[in-house]
Amino acid sequence: MLSKIKTCVLYGLEGYAVDVETDISGGLPNFNIVGLPDISIKESKERVRSAIKNSRFDFPVSRITVNLAPANLKKEGSQIDLPIAVGILTASKVIKPVDEKICIIGELSLDGRITAIDGALPMVISMRNKSFNKAIVPEDNKEECGAIEGIEIIPVDSITQLVDYLNGNLYIEPYKSKYNFQDKPDYYNEDFSEIKGQPAMKRAVEIAAAGMHNILLLGNPGSGKTMIARRIPTILPDLTFEESLEVTKIYSISGLLDNKGLITKRPFRSPHHTSSRTSIAGGGTKPRPGEVSLSHCGVLFLDEIPEFPKSVIEVLRQPMEDGKISISRASGSLTFPAKFMMVASMNPCPCGYLGDPTHECSCSQGQIDKYLGKISGPLLNRIDIQIEVLPVKYDDLKDMKAEESSAAIKKRIVKARNIQRERYRNIGILTNSELSTKGISKFCKVNKESEILLKNAFETLGLSVRAYNKILKVARTIADLENYENIETKHIAEAIRYRSLDRKYWR
């Protein structure tokens, strides 16, 4: 007897439909899977056998051949357990033939229960796009999958339940998960109001968040660099539904979802400086998204950036430019989205005390040069805002006024983001930081007075040419924050302040 069940395998974030064909014929009892399965699928033989037996069905004592079609596509993942089991039960007539428009995914445990799989969300989205109308998914994956429109999600938790459902003896309500992106509980334990003083740093971070500009914070130890970086997600606008789906897809295939469904909080990733290139960029024999993709739509925080190996920092260049990362392997090339806001922090020298009047700096000039040399020109090129920060003095702390809350800052940022989205509606970008050189000359026009100021700034402050476009982009964001249609001279004047490190450290 022959049966055919539809399932799905992933390649990167893209799902491909796969037919599981099962044939039971006479001959010596045997169980074979063909069609380029990888190790995890070959092992599923044992899980399927035990799961069927322990669900009190008979495992056919005959020659069983399972073919995964198309035969030329490499298949991997434990989600194929369940379709194989259903295929065998269908071929041995325990289940009625299954509709071609139903896609089945799930992993089996030996007692016949169906357990959660990685990547359920991207699989279901791909299957919806290939016009399947029903997806049978593990109970534990229902929250993430239930958010998708246009396909019925049937959560099941055991083979017995699934057999009853497919035979029409049991009705399972298609699952819909509820999301309301406007009104969600406050996730964050941290708030901007906890940062005392540091007005210049706060302002720079607000501008960076408003325009998705990459930002470099430089300062002595204890100046609050890490503290402010950790609070950046609290002032970023809420994820939209589309963004949330994209982020959840990435987390789903990485197995980082904790059954709570879609991710609604902006990612904040802070990889340690011992991270390898592959963990940052993504890859491996079975390509996985790296930190750059896990911080998609959120913040990638690189604390002590000169401590990262140079090769690791350099892989950031492509994603910072294109908003995605391509990983090429012998088996083919994959692309993961990686549009993030980079927040980097560093000390002025390896010991951290260069320029601090109260601590002695113990570094040699060679060490300092080497330290600063780790930040290459091309990387610096991609950082729009640089700001130097200092520890708060006790005197300033004493009579501190109440600081602004994250919610208040967020309101301004959302407004500025809306202005940007409206302006760039037709050119397919969302924020000022994504402007190309052509876009800059179109959207960042400056008046005569500002041009003179810029020219003077280059001469007297010794700014490098690479700073020019950055200043214009940042000035555009400042103008958006203050709700000005055109860039005024004062906006340029302020933007110049955020290039102070250019001249000081990398002259």
Partner: protein, 373 residues
């Protein structure tokens, strides 16, 4: 250079053989004249027991065809030399004890006898030190004073760069061979100094590496070439203080910029002041000790025209005058938004009125008190 006279030839030969300045004067005492030294060196070799055997062997080895080879080297490195017997030898330097017999240089020594001030300080300066170095060097440059320093990183580099920016002659004294750029980052600065009619000067022959002991000795040349030594920042035991010590021995004026008593980098300067150095808060203090500068200073004194400043900018200047000089305090005092304040600071910096560093904002020029306006 096409040919060398006997003095030049002989001193170059001794210097190439790594004979120290001290031993050169012993040799000259022994032989009575340079001419005699060059001609009769071989005959007297065995009596020169203050020189090491290796040095003697090296000297006789390199003496063969010496003139052609050294001329080729000098020309290929585009380096020039001056000896203490030449007329264009810096006159101030001639007066000091242990004046170098031979100097290698790149650039020009034409103006080296004009009034010069050495601006020195620590390699790791604070933002206060950097600001003070830039401000005082600018003011000195504006009245045509030569700036002498040691081409090290930190205060030295700022002094040279500021002098170049305001078209003053500047002289960098290095502690290694003239063909070695140390520190490497300053390679471009070396070139600019030579191009700008200043000079990079050393007493060491080609290929001598920058070892610590050389710097100790080159410091005597820095103070020797100057009328006064301005110490911007110095730690308690530092090369900067060694230079100040040389200056005192040579009878030069010592000027020291005072600093906070809790700052490591002001301990040396504050100690100098305690020991009698002139406390220096503006160029007037320097002019008071060096008479020729007095007139130049009174002619040059600049005030920024208050009419060119906006009301907001005046408000900031007023706060700065009363010592409120951090962004946080300024924001509270002026009631400006952070962004607005930062913008105004850029305008003021462009006008040359202030200097902004991360920890504080400093006034650059003398302002009449605004509250009376």
């Amino acid at each position: 250079m096409d040919n060398l006279n006997t003095n030049q030839k002989t001193l170059l030969w001794l210097s190439s053989g790594s004979v120290s300045n001290n031993n050169i004067s012993k040799l000259l005492d022994y032989f009575g004249s340079v001419q005699n030294l060059w001609e009769n060196f071989e005959n007297e070799q065995l009596n020169l027991n203050f020189l090491k055997v290796e040095t003697l062997n090296k000297l006789s080895k390199i003496k063969i065809d010496f003139e052609e080879r050294i001329l080729e080297k000098l020309n290929s490195e585009k380096a020039q030399i001056v000896t203490i017997f030449d007329n264009d030898y810096p006159s101030k330097l001639k007066q000091i004890e242990g004046a170098p017999y031979l100097l290698y240089y790149k650039g020009s020594l034409e103006d080296i006898n004009n009034i010069s001030i050495a601006v020195i300080g620590s390699r790791k300066a604070t933002s206060y030190g950097k600001w003070a170095a830039e401000k005082l060097t600018k003011e000195l440059s504006d009245i045509g004073v030569n700036i002498v320093s040691g081409l090290a990183v930190g205060i030295d580099t700022i002094a040279h760069k500021t002098a170049l920016k305001y078209n003053a002659k500047t002289y960098g004294i290095i502690g290694c061979g003239i063909n070695i750029a140390y520190p490497k980052n300053n390679r471009e600065l070396f070139k600019q100094i030579a191009e700008n009619k200043g000079a990079v000067i050393t007493e060491y022959t080609f290929d001598i590496q920058p070892v610590a002991f050389n710097f100790h000795d080159r410091n005597r040349i820095i103070s020797g070439l100057s009328e006064g030594v301005l110490v911007i920042e110095a730690q308690e035991k530092s090369g900067t203080l060694i230079t100040a010590g040389h200056a005192a021995n040579q009878g030069r004026e010592i000027f020291a910029v005072p600093g906070n008593i809790d700052s490591l980098y002001s301990k040396g300067t504050n100690a100098l002041i305690r020991d009698g150095a002139k406390i220096t808060v503006s160029i007037d203090d320097i002019a008071e000790e060096i008479l020729e500068l007095k007139e130049r200073v009174s002619l040059k004194k600049t005030f920024i025209d208050l009419g060119t400043l906006t009301d907001d900018e005046l408000k900031i200047i007023e706060c700065l005058q009363s010592g409120k000089n951090t962004i946080y305090v300024l924001e509270q005092e002026t009631k400006m938004e952070t962004g607005e304040l930062l913008g105004n600071l850029t305008f003021l910096e462009m006008k040359g009125a202030i200097k902004v560093s991360a920890d504080k904002i400093s006034l650059n020029l003398s302002f009449p008190s605004i509250s009376n306006k």
